[in-house]
Subunit: 359 residues, 2 copies
Amino acid sequence: MAISERKKKILSAVIEAYISTAEPVGSKTIAETAGLGCSSATIRNELAELVAMGYLEQPHTSAGRVPTPMGYRLYVNELMEKQRLSLEESEEINARLNDRMHELYDTIGDVSKLASQLTDYPAIALTTRSVVTIQRFDLIYVDANTFIIVVMLSNNTVKNKLVRLPVSVDQRMMQRLSSTFNANFTGITEDKITPVLINSTERAVDDTMGLTSVIAAFALEVLTEAETPSSFVAGENMLLNQPEFRDPDKAHRLMRYLSAGGNILPPGMPAADSDEVRVLIGPENVAEELKDSSVVIASYDAGDNMRGLIGVVGPTRMDYSAVAAKLSFLAAGLSKRLGGGEAPPEGMHNKLIIKGDNR
Amino acid sequence: MAISERKKKILSAVIEAYISTAEPVGSKTIAETAGLGCSSATIRNELAELVAMGYLEQPHTSAGRVPTPMGYRLYVNELMEKQRLSLEESEEINARLNDRMHELYDTIGDVSKLASQLTDYPAIALTTRSVVTIQRFDLIYVDANTFIIVVMLSNNTVKNKLVRLPVSVDQRMMQRLSSTFNANFTGITEDKITPVLINSTERAVDDTMGLTSVIAAFALEVLTEAETPSSFVAGENMLLNQPEFRDPDKAHRLMRYLSAGGNILPPGMPAADSDEVRVLIGPENVAEELKDSSVVIASYDAGDNMRGLIGVVGPTRMDYSAVAAKLSFLAAGLSKRLGGGEAPPEGMHNKLIIKGDNR
DNA sequence: TATTAGCACTCGAAGGGCGAGAGTGCCAAC
DNA sequence: GTTGGCACTCTCGCCCTTCGAGTGCTAATA
């Protein structure tokens, strides 16, 4: 059965009312607010059909209607007005982004905090898996027992480590180590750093003090760390604002899942690569803990061919429109600042594509 | 009125029972469990006096007794058995500490996570304020438009930054910059880096491209960051385990306070410098949000003349003994691994001094 | 004098019944 | 297809009662 225009309007009205009040919505409320020229009795008939079609449900016989995940899905895909941020809102986000732009926003912790503060929901930021190699080694001689390893990676980050030695080492040796590592260890992926390679390098530089393995271990550690996706959660406590999490056990379960770095992305879903915002509603989530919550995810260009993800978690009764708009704008702002590519023109934030798990 | 031995035993019994059940404790329970050879009627008399003395209180006329903050204070100061960790427990902590010793435990985030997981309460880790100077600069030439600044600080950490230039620069210039910065910017505190100094340096190296100010800005940023105390909270959701935080609003208030980096240390209290564990009970806390919670704080030697703090937050009905023992052991373990000084002998964790806010 | 048994009393928690109100479903009229 | 009307249903909040844990007091006891 096709869904009529009026039904769509009514469904939207129910969802919007429910989003703001968290109470089941009655026919009278809709007749008054939705502004279709018809009475509550008509609305009741329509509501009954929407229930039959699976877009709404009733907690019990004589309560108002509540949207089902299917209802939310239709709303998100077709009905929802793609909200644009007010000027104040977008200016605030920009201000916050610029404010600390020094160098902070490469820590995903700050990204998630920002997202959480903007949306008033818990937020998770994560980095995607990527392949990284070392581009160059430098060894800085500090004193006979101390040197600094500086390593520049293919993603244009630089890592260092201060090494203190029980024995003394001369600058010539350091020179040798440095050029050999630059010859043998650059441009290769983590799995190419094998004991065999380390041994042959050790012999090549005539190292009897184990310096080679110290440096190689650092290289390995740095690559591993750079390749491992990491995640960061902020604002978990925002959950407690939501009436659906007034049950401390329920809140606790979800918070624990989030803090434990629980995955938000469904396994099949590619780590988004465009400027779209994805919405996962209730049971569409794979994790058991998220089955009655919703997730909104945006991705941004984190520079150096990497993409970052920001996700926001909330009850299914979430203000999808506002959250999606904010996340989208935030992601665009981050892309602009962190991304290597050309900056999107100002006002770009008006483009907002929302995509989900259609079925 | 002096408090008799038997009263002390009864008080301990009440507190311990209350700690484990969170229910007001009745005279009968004590008569049965405490193992003093007397009946519940006698206990009742004693309890009535303990109430009069202010160590206990009754939620209402016909309920059991609940400890007051004053009761907890006496318990923590005098009565509590200084708990030693079981072999398994101390081995577990050691294992966890060794497990990731690679280089993780310089991020205080990991310290707080560990403390939280060990105690099952939210934990905060913080660094103390300290004075840091730069020890040496190195500039690594990558290509004509790129170089890396490497800065070694007096606390033996090394920071770096990759700089991309719109103009090209030659190695001679870099050489000049490097030696001038090493001459002018090392060994000085943050406040000595003034526009005047930067200007004179700029002239000295004949820099028309603003490289001087880029490097100086980085120096300033690094010093500021190194000197600013930072804090990190983990395991906020553990609060929801506690029956006293079943009220979501109450839990939310405290969690918000903690996540916002709310201070746990009373202003007067020195940032502890010995191996003692401090306990702040309920109203002894200065922050309004902590007035009905308790805080246990330990400090550890973070190396390079810095001390770190780990604090655990919970209801006043907290297992002080267990938490204090765990924190103390954890702090000792961290000191041993991070601290510059001599490692304390194994088995050290048997020393456990608890100090609080006596009045 | 300290301890104990006994007993009446108090108070909160849990459970049942009741009325109010919101909202529905259905029907007959338009 | 729409509407007003009306009986019906179900939850929520309220009050009342009951139940039991725990007390305080008193009188008897060591």
